[in-house]
């Protein structure tokens, strides 16, 4: 079977010494930041972007991927043990997980989380291996109009599936597109919005924008929430769930994997949405509804499976179509572009080693996390006690030096200062970052495709509607916008996300 052949080749790439090493580094780093509140995978990926530029693209992606799904593992650990979800996607795990811990079943909860996550990760890896090539074949028939419509759909979907005000998210998207315009126009050769600054002739460095918006701005926001964290240390005994527990875990894990796999692919989706949806569904289908909120194991294994599956499948649109489905993926696109690898339908053909190596490394990483994390639990909890005033200057320094190394220019340090301020201000004013970074990454590509499409059709805008794939994508966009306009859907949206805060 071709699937197995490809995975075998991928394992060959993933199991080189360098790649195993960086996979391990990524997973450990990911777990660490998952454990620590106040810093998440988006900020970490942003900060490490300058370093990845000196690495091989495959190795860089393997490490960054490890950070993303590793953070899901880390977040659940603290969610269960200390009721402090280190990641937003672990919020639901904390609900029942911590109750289990209080009842003396911390080890079982941790074990359940790890086993469900690993199962989901394995299944997700196979799903990616099965579906990605098919998707790429379809995408190979994409021309400029299809790409434009797809990117439009990606942006629209990310708003619809995001929480918060629709209008504000739309503003962020438009703002991001505008920011993407800065630089030399490819078609006409003139410099736009550079205001004479030579450093801007290639556009604002995406990595610098990411570091400012997610690294610096996060810190600025966290400085205002200086709550002291009381650590309730719970004893961790047996780490393996009993047979009866395992039996109860099977269905939620499988359901969670399915939910996560589907929602992860959708733009705006990923780990966060998947875990919430899974919790809601588990609560609805369980035979013991009274247990939910008091320590139901289904409330741990379902969401944990979902968030891991969601994290992994969110790579699919990025790797097959070049469309990032969330902020972390957007930054990975940025990392790839600077390495000279243009993510898109051709990636799987032109760079099979990169693609399959990355897919295989996800499974390897999951295995590492399963084996390493359970014994290391004690260490992670101790690290929770690290005071924020040691952590945040470190992040600042790291961002500062990293920004300089992007282009050996001080200019980028000022860029992260500017975007740190912008990110902080926008958050204060009630706007969200993920749509912004998504559209910055997609912006220049969208304009190029738009202009190329119109040149192909000699100025006739109907080209977007005449081509079947393009018009389908546009219709889906409109349907999504229409859905959000409907008050009933809007209410459901708000209800789901209310539980998050």
């Amino acid at each position: 079977m071709e699937l197995l052949q490809n995975l075998y080749m991928g394992l060959g790439v993933a199991l080189t010494f360098t790649n195993i090493l960086f996979c391990l580094i990524g997973c450990l780093l990911g777990t660490l930041i998952g454990v620590l509140p106040g810093i998440g995978p988006a900020a970490t990926v942003a900060m490490l972007l300058p370093i990845t530029f000196t690495m091989e693209p495959t190795t860089a992606l393997i490490m960054l991927a490890g950070i993303y799904y590793g953070a899901q593992y880390g977040g659940s650990t603290t969610a269960i043990l200390v009721n402090l979800p280190g990641e937003a996607s672990s919020v639901v795990t904390a609900i029942d997980g911590h109750q289990m811990a209080r009842a003396g079943r911390a080890g079982v909860a941790l074990g359940a989380a790890a086993i469900s996550s690993f199962t989901a990760g394995t299944i997700a890896t196979i799903l990616i291996a099965a579906f990605a090539p098919m998707l790429s074949t379809v995408a190979l028939r994409f021309g400029a109009p299809e790409f434009f419509s797809l990117m439009l759909l990606g942006l629209v979907a990310s708003i619809v599936l995001a929480h918060g005000s629709l209008l504000k998210a739309l503003c962020m998207i438009v703002l991001g597109l505008i920011l993407g315009i800065v630089g030399t126009d490819v078609t006409s050769g003139i410099a736009r919005f550079t205001f004479g600054a030579n450093e801007l002739s290639e556009g604002i460095n995406v990595a610098a924008i990411a570091m400012g918006l997610f690294g610096v701005a996060e810190i600025l926001r966290n400085l205002e929430n200086t709550e002291s964290r009381e650590t309730v240390t719970v004893k961790v005994e047996r780490l393996l769930p009993a047979l009866s527990d395992l039996r109860r875990m099977i269905a939620p894990t499988l359901r969670g994997t399915a939910i996560g796999s589907v929602l992860g692919i959708l733009p705006g989706g990923g780990a966060l949405l998947s875990s919430f949806a899974s919790y809601a569904i588990e609560k609805k289908v369980t035979k013991n509804p009274e247990e939910f909120g008091k320590g139901a194991i289904e409330g741990v294994s379902g969401p944990e499976a979902a968030n891991n599956a969601g994290a992994q499948t969110s790579f699919i649109p990025m790797l097959t179509l070049g469309i990032p489905s969330n902020a972390v993926m957007a930054m990975m696109v940025g990392a790839m572009m600077v390495q000279g690898v243009q993510p898109g339908p051709r990636t799987i053909i032109e760079q099979p080693g990169l693609f399959w190596g990355l897919v295989a490394s996800m499974w390897v990483g999951n295995l590492m996390l399963l084996v390493l994390n359970l014994p290391l639990v004690g260490m992670w909890v101790k690290l929770l006690r690290m005071p924020y005033h040691w952590l945040f200057p470190s992040i600042i320094v790291f961002c500062a030096v990293g920004a300089y190394t992007l282009n050996n220019s001080l200019f980028n340090i000022y860029v992260i200062v500017a975007f740190g301020f912008v990110g902080y201000a926008l958050c204060k004013l009630g706007y969200e970052m993920p749509p912004l970074i998504l559209s910055v990454v997609l912006g220049s590509m969208m304009e190029e495709n738009l202009r190329r499409s119109l040149m192909l059709s000699n100025g006739d805008p109907m080209i977007f509607v005449e081509r079947p794939i393009s018009v389908t994508l546009l219709l889906i966009s409109f349907v999504l916008i229409g859905l959000v306009a409907f008050p009933r859907f809007r209410k459901n949206r708000e209800v789901i996300f209310e539980e998050e805060t």
């Binding site: 597109l177 990293g402 004013l429």
Partner: protein, 150 residues
């Protein structure tokens, strides 16, 4: 000090309106061309107009809103962090990486309520060593360690 959501939405919308209008202004300056053959200014103009329109909508909805939730105005802390970054940039070439890092850590530590000079100095030295190891030794990036200013 706090301001209501409604007021902050108005302020936010106003700022974005300026950005939108500014974009339209510059878009028009860079030849717009026609929809059939778009000039470099076409996309900016359209985007700027959309942003301006959206911000007006937000402004209008904020005026009618009776939402009484509030949000706090920023203190000095965030600005100190930003200043520490600027300090780093200014000092990197005039005083070298080590001094720049230590200065930056000092300034950003001021932003927390509890500033302890010795601890900041220690952290600064540790970070300087780590940065040298990671960026100069491991990654081979050219960074001036110390710059004598004599």
């Amino acid at each position: 000090m706090e301001i209501t959501f409604a007021k902050r939405d108005l302020i936010g919308a106003g700022l974005l309106l300026c950005v939108g209008l500014g974009t339209v202004y510059f878009g028009i300056k860079y030849d717009i061309g026609t929809p059939q053959s778009m000039g470099p200014g076409f996309f900016p103009m359209v985007l700027g107009a959309i942003l301006a329109g959206l911000s007006v909508l937000i402004a209008i909805s904020s005026l009618g809103s009776s939402n009484t939730e509030t949000v706090k105005l920023p203190s000095a802390a965030p600005f100190l962090v930003l200043i520490s970054l600027v300090a780093f940039a200014l000092l990197l070439f005039s005083a070298g990486l080590v001094i720049a890092i230590i200065a930056s850590v000092f300034i950003s530590s001021l932003s927390t309520g509890e500033f302890r000079p010795f601890r900041s100095l220690l952290l600064g030295v540790i970070l300087a060593v780590c940065s040298v190891l990671v960026f100069r030794v491991a990654l081979g990036q050219p960074l001036p360690l110390f710059v004598s200013w004599m």
